[in-house]
Amino acid sequence: MLALPAAPALLAQEMPKIEVGVPDAGAETVAHFFSAPQLAALRRLSDLLLPAMGETPGALEARAPEFLDFLIGESPADRKQLYRAGLDALNAGARRKYGKAFAELDAAQADAVLAPLHERWTYDAPKDPLAAFLREAKADVMAATVNSREWVQVVSQRSRTASGTGIYWHPIE
């Protein structure tokens, strides 16, 4: 005689907790805000701002450019304009100096175009669109990287304090 599984009625009443992942665990962001040349410039810029270093992932591994495409696409008009004008200025500067798009420059050439990043921070944002954009992009690319699954999973194994976890307050009804 077959042994029946124990108490099937009880099993049906259990409320299990299932571990689910985040969208980035299995899929890529579809970038649709920036134009192709703007996105290419943003990818190159992101890689320069925060490259992978040893085991630690960089902006590209963290998919920071694609995330910023999403974030800026949802942002108020002045932020959208800051990014678009800045990325266009990167490409324009690269063409003027080297006859190529920003994404095609080597590190030394790119550094020349990124000259505003070597200026001291001042309270008032610079008026030049490239300089104003770069100072914001530097902070945004770092945050998008450091807050990514890729970064948190690697760095939290090394350091207990850099856990990337916070206390989230649930929305009220």
Partner: protein, 512 residues
Amino acid sequence: MALTPYDVLIIGSGASGGMTAHTLTKLGVKCLMLDAGPAFDYDKDRSLRPVYDLPYRGFGKPGRFPHITQANEFTAAIWADEKENPYSYDPKDPYYWVRIRRIGGKTLVWGRASWRLSDYEFKAKDHDGFGDNWPLAYADLAPYYDRCEPLLRVSGRKEGLPQLPDGVFLEDQSKDGPSVTRFLEEAKKRGIPTTKQRRAQGALASSMNLLLPDAMATGNLTIVPNAVVREITTDRKTGLVNGVNFVDRRSKREMHAKARVLVVGASTLESTRLLLNSGIANSSGVLGHYLFDQFYVKNTVQALTPEAGGGGGYIARFTNLKSKDKNYLRGYAVDFGSGGTPDPKYFPLYGEALQKALNANRGRGFNATTMGSVLPRFENHVSIDKNVIDAWGVPSLRIQARYTDNEFNMAKDAMNTLAELCQASGFELLEKHDRMVPPGESIHELGTCRMGESPKTSVLNKWNQAHDVKNLFVVDGSAFVTGGSQNPTLTISALAMRASEYMAEQMRKGEL
């Protein structure tokens, strides 16, 4: 089943409403407390979450809180939604109005800084001729400060400074690192007084855990959450208030609560907004006027210390004490701290070079934030904007306030003083500036329902009692006459305690 009977109706559950309930219920007075927001459970309503699991990866939904720089994606649910709670201002004079509509109010997230005001504030007009005196002196409030500090578990160190009276403290004997020690020595050489922070201690320092539980335990308090008060109702025959009309936050069901005595502690501008919408207590015409706060110059200086170390402290107001020694009146205080790593923006580098610089400078950050006195001026005011209605149909405020030369001159002086101190201490100055955040961002808005001796120039008497309506009390920061550079919450608590004891005594005598 009969309604729960009560004597006093309290609007607001934060520092002022909470202290009022705490004081009254212990004296045997039955209270009903209304708060616009929900209660919440610290265990069930929060959870640990990785930042990458937040929809905006920690950046927060863009444009959600245009006026709340303090909000982040983890804490977004705490702050009052700006779309549900709109307000207006002239675009030339931006004002940041920051609200929390939950049981506990802003005490859920406040910075804990707990300073006593002195007679340099209470008798400011006697001292420098500007503005008005409070209708009470430091000696009148001292016994209440004595009782509030232990309730709020304030830590600190006694200094004997007349402009920053000592209190009943959990003694702070923490040590400072070598860089901060040098900074303190350089300050001392220049006659600049410093001390430890004075802060309410504990994982939570809120009316929710410090005041309301004891009040509930007396059996004399009923708390009704999600009650958005629209207006105060008045008995036409007697001229006394007799209750409030409110709606349920979620369903908008119309309700009315009676009041024998009404205490409004809805937070400075909400209380004034309620009185303005109710058309009461304003024979003086000053309701809404004399809005001020503290101006903040965040990160006035950012520096690198020669060695990593910790420690921090506070510079107490030291200018214009014995006589007017500056091109501005009154003075500023400074919060300073060390031991962090400066923000990457201060290093003109990127990529691997930046990471190397951040590693080399770990723990060597030093920064200081200036908090300055703002002069109360009649023309800085709020009024009802009938075109701006909140999600429950209540007209909101138009806020008009701007800083003046007194504040700008003070900020510049603070910047120069701090930069000089950093340099004398051997720090490398990364940045200095004197630019203030917009008015209101300090979340120390005060005034607009001020106390005074004369009903012609003030709304409340020295007991926080409306001159025009004796059974109406307003107990929060709106009652302030002048604020100084000290964070106001401790003083708000002490005033609420004092007003409550007076109120209870008046009720016992049959006067209310």
